[in-house]
């Protein structure tokens, strides 16, 4: 029979050892590298299962969140952005450059004149909450085609107007997501001009990935061959800053 005192003592020792052991493993680059291998497993298996064209669920008006909360930053603080916003972004131009044959400078009305896709979709935050809203804007794919995407391009990078600690927010997706029919640059949200807290003037929608990939306040879209030589090399602000996964399908 195990005595109660030795049992409790053993449990406490075991628990304490488990705790500090796990924290130490968490800090070990070797062990983290092993765990990070799962990201490739997710990327490959989910692309296999979802295929290249599988659509995220789209909902009806009745399914929409009564109140769609704001995620991430609620607005860039730079004077430049404030000036653009004050003039309803009439002076704002979206730069599309990098590995493209014909760099573009598109205004809000240019984007509005392109064929629009409206979609009522579910926004899943990495924190765990979800909100359903309606987004409308041109698809990214046709814009990249007009710009003449180079065959050397592997990633599309979104440079944003907001920044934290002097580091600008940015995100990146692969071509499979970039050319997906539900990947749009949203101009309208819930049938109104996209409000500043939700990412004005345009917000990226990448409906098969978690919320932090949906870049807000997009200023420039850049086609690149690689993303490991940009900023801290992990392909996005949160990836660089806190080691979130670049592939956010799960």
């Amino acid at each position: 029979m195990i005595g109660r005192r030795s049992l409790l003592g053993g449990l406490a020792l075991g628990a304490g050892g488990l705790l500090s052991g796990c924290d130490r493993l968490n800090a070990s680059p070797g062990f983290r590298g092993l765990l990070q291998g799962a990201e490739q497993l997710h990327y490959r298996s989910q692309r296999l299962i979802a295929g290249s064209g599988a659509l995220a669920r789209e909902y009806g008006r009745a399914d929409m969140s009564p109140l769609f909360r704001v995620n991430g930053s609620s607005g860039p603080t730079s004077a430049a952005y404030a000036a653009l916003a004050a003039n309803s972004f009439a002076d704002w131009r979206l730069l599309v450059d990098g590995l493209v044959a014909r760099p573009l400078r598109l205004s809000l009305s240019d984007l509005g004149r392109l064929p629009q896709r409206a979609q009522i979709t579910r926004h899943d935050c990495v924190e765990g909450w979800s909100a359903i809203g309606k987004w409308q804007g041109p698809q990214l794919g046709p814009i990249l085609r007009v710009a003449g995407l180079s065959s050397r391009a592997n990633f599309i990078v979104f440079h944003c107007a907001d920044e934290s600690n002097g580091v600008p927010y940015y995100e990146s997706i692969d071509l499979n997501d970039a050319l997906h029919p539900q990947t749009i640059l949203a101009l309208l949200m819930n049938d109104h001009r996209l409000p500043v807290p939700h990412g004005a003037p345009i917000r990226l929608r990448v409906e098969r990935q978690l919320g932090y990939k949906h870049a807000k306040f997009v200023m420039r879209i850049e086609a690149r061959e690689r993303i490991d030589d940009l900023y801290l090399g992990k392909g996005g602000y949160w990836e660089d800053r806190a080691d979130y996964a670049w592939y956010a399908g799960i």
Partner: protein, 286 residues
């Protein structure tokens, strides 16, 4: 006592006597038991840290701070609480508000000693959770295949009509409540409560927790839309994921207590090397 071996009519195997050393658990069972135990501990602790990022649960397709939550853990000033529906319980010191190792007051749902990592990091928690998920799922799959092939499920977990009679189940519950556990040959088999629990964990709780996990993935549900349909939405899946967690924790507590009460050294040896000393038959009473 007769020296004649007794025949188990169901399988025509020789039934063991008290005092015999038998192989109780197959290799596949033992391997999976420990891999699964490790995986579940990591999944629980990393899962609690993930929950800390948004400690509210909803039903349906959407759910965020402006929406009504059926369950939440939170803090009002320095008072921590857990709320289920309209029932709220104070939890200061354990949930919602607690002191960390350094003695600093922290406002988060689950405390440092229950989470991986012990300090707040949603990214790190996901790193552990989503990697060990593969170990959990592939382990279960491997165990299921092995147990079909080696007939473990058929021989040891199938429930007979006689066993599932309410009178028999009730009798077993009463015996357990009295801490009177089977001896002799009966101790080398799973009783009805064990069979129900193990079948419940292997075929209901574990698959449920895996599928609800997948249902929270925007990529998986674009390929497998049925994941959203069977659970009634992503937030319902998240709630069910948490409820399945409670089920697994409850099972584990009862399981560990039972191991401690039925000869832990013998039980642990049986689950490591397979060898189990059949408990001696109880002397007849009265």
């Amino acid at each position: 006592m007769s020296d004649e071996p007794s025949l188990d009519l169901q399988t025509a195997r020789l039934a063991p006597h008290g005092g015999d050393l038998v192989v109780r658990h197959r290799l596949a069972t033992r391997l999976w038991h420990w891999v699964n135990a490790l995986a579940l501990i990591v999944m629980l602790m990393s899962g609690l840290m993930i929950f800390n990022a948004h400690p509210r649960l909803y039903w349906g397709h959407y759910g965020a701070n402006p929406d009504p939550a059926w369950f939440e853990i939170g803090a009002r000033g320095n008072h921590g609480f857990a709320r289920l529906g309209s029932l709220e319980a104070p939890a200061t010191g354990v949930l919602g508000v607690w002191r960390d190792v350094a003695g600093t007051v922290q406002r988060r749902a689950f405390p440092y000693w229950a989470t991986i990592p012990s300090r707040y990091s949603l990214a790190d928690a996901r790193l552990w959770h989503l990697a060990f998920a593969w170990l959990l799922a592939l382990g279960l799959l491997g165990f299921m295949v092995a147990s079909l092939v080696n007939r473990h499920f058929r021989r040891d977990l199938t429930i007979s009509r006689a066993e599932i009679r309410p009178a028999h189940v009730w009798h077993d519950i009463k015996e357990h409540a009295r801490l009177r556990f089977p001896t002799g040959a009966a101790a080398a088999r799973y009783g009805i409560l064990q069979k129900l629990s193990y079948v419940g964990v292997i075929f209901i709780l574990l698959p449920l927790i895996i599928l609800t996990g997948l249902a929270m993935s925007p990529a998986m549900t674009s390929g497998w839309a049925w994941l959203l349909d069977i659970f009634g939405g992503r937030q319902s899946a998240r709630s069910l994921h948490f409820i399945a967690t409670v089920g697994l924790v409850a099972f584990t507590v009862v399981h560990v207590v039972m191991v401690l009460l039925t000869g832990p050294h013998n039980q642990m040896r049986a689950m490591i090397s397979g060898r189990y000393r059949v408990p001696l038959e109880r002397a007849p009473q009265g």
